[in-house]
Symmetry: C2
Subunit: 203 residues, 2 copies
């Protein structure tokens, strides 16, 4: 868990608020109140103000999610099952948290992509890390590098798209559906490889 000093409380509170209201929808007053910290402390720990704080939030939660991905991959020998498990777990979390966004990064990234270049780059780096991680796992499962990369991109996009849909429909079912489709995608690549040693030659 995260330490309980002021700085960490600010990061945690900001992350949670971003997930509910986004970047522009979250005021620093809300942040300082939720973290029970004065404005002075905020600007001491994050001299760059709001966007500085947001940057750290994105990096922190980005790393946390990466760790979660790895954990789920590790606990499922079958990659298709791992993929579906992740979506199912997310759907469950959504339901239990009254459909608060599970991930501040996607929402914030889409909001600020045209107004805060440094923040945009940070979000980009985080997504890149996720994609590399997923691509590595898919390659390890025996999928060809090019296909694995493409599939990893598809996977991360499906996750973010799924969060959006679960949130707007206030229903986890769509997230589960998307998970099943992504699983199909992974498994069809795996059987293609098993049948033709890398290249698809018959069907």
């Amino acid at each position: 868990m995260m330490p309980d000093d002021t700085r960490s409380r600010l990061i945690a509170a900001t992350g949670e608020l971003f997930r509910r209201y986004g970047y522009n929808g979250t005021s620093l007053k809300q942040v300082t109140e939720a973290a029970d910290a004065p404005t002075g402390s905020l600007y001491h720990h994050f001299p760059g103000g709001k966007s500085d704080l947001a940057q750290v939030v994105l990096e922190t939660t980005g790393a946390a999610y990466q760790e979660l991905f790895e954990l789920i991959w590790d606990s499922h020998p079958d990659p298709g099952a791992a993929v579906e498990a992740f979506f199912d777990a997310a759907a469950e979390v959504l339901k239990q948290t009254d459909f608060i966004d599970p991930c501040p990064i996607g929402g914030v990234a889409r909001e600020i992509a045209n107004s805060d270049e440094t923040l945009r780059q940070t979000a980009d780096r985080v997504f890149d890390g996720w994609i590399s991680s997923a691509a590595g796992r898919l390659r390890a499962a025996g999928i060809e590098p090019d296909v694995a990369e493409e599939m990893a991109v598809s996977l991360v996009a499906a996750i973010e798209g799924g969060f959006l849909h679960a949130r707007t429909s206030r229903n986890g079912d769509r997230l589960r559906m998307i998970g099943r489709q992504q699983r199909r995608l992974v498994e069809s690549a795996l059987t293609a490889r098993a049948a033709g040693d890398g290249r698809v030659q018959d069907r």
Copy 2:
């Protein structure tokens, strides 16, 4: 094209600003300036203020996209090709517009899902329409209803997720990758049907 009266200019300007800066990132002053309309006119046409205006924007662009979907389906006899074509077209548009969000709905929906219930429901309805439309096309191509529904959800989520990634990375390639994967998904369902059970012969 849209008529040039004040009300339409307000809708168009708001849509464009939402695509760049999102809901909370767009001020009504920006809107009235971009539309060259006074505040009084805004509140005359949209008595509910900002969220009222946003609602109309979501509905309008939602309908426009639905029409675009249908158009692309119509001009491609092969459903897999239609899917990929849509993603490729989106990637091209993104590039040409300096990676402004092609769709205000996804971004706005994610922003306000926890703060504006009516707006959330509007976005939900729009997505529902898209999904129904896509599911209908997939069923018409011969995919079983349950699978078609699930695939349609996956498709719309992939589109929104793809927009996010293209925007964040300032690169259309990922959107194209996602499109290829979605095409694979559609085609694997079609070949499964052709190879498999009962009603095989209609083509």
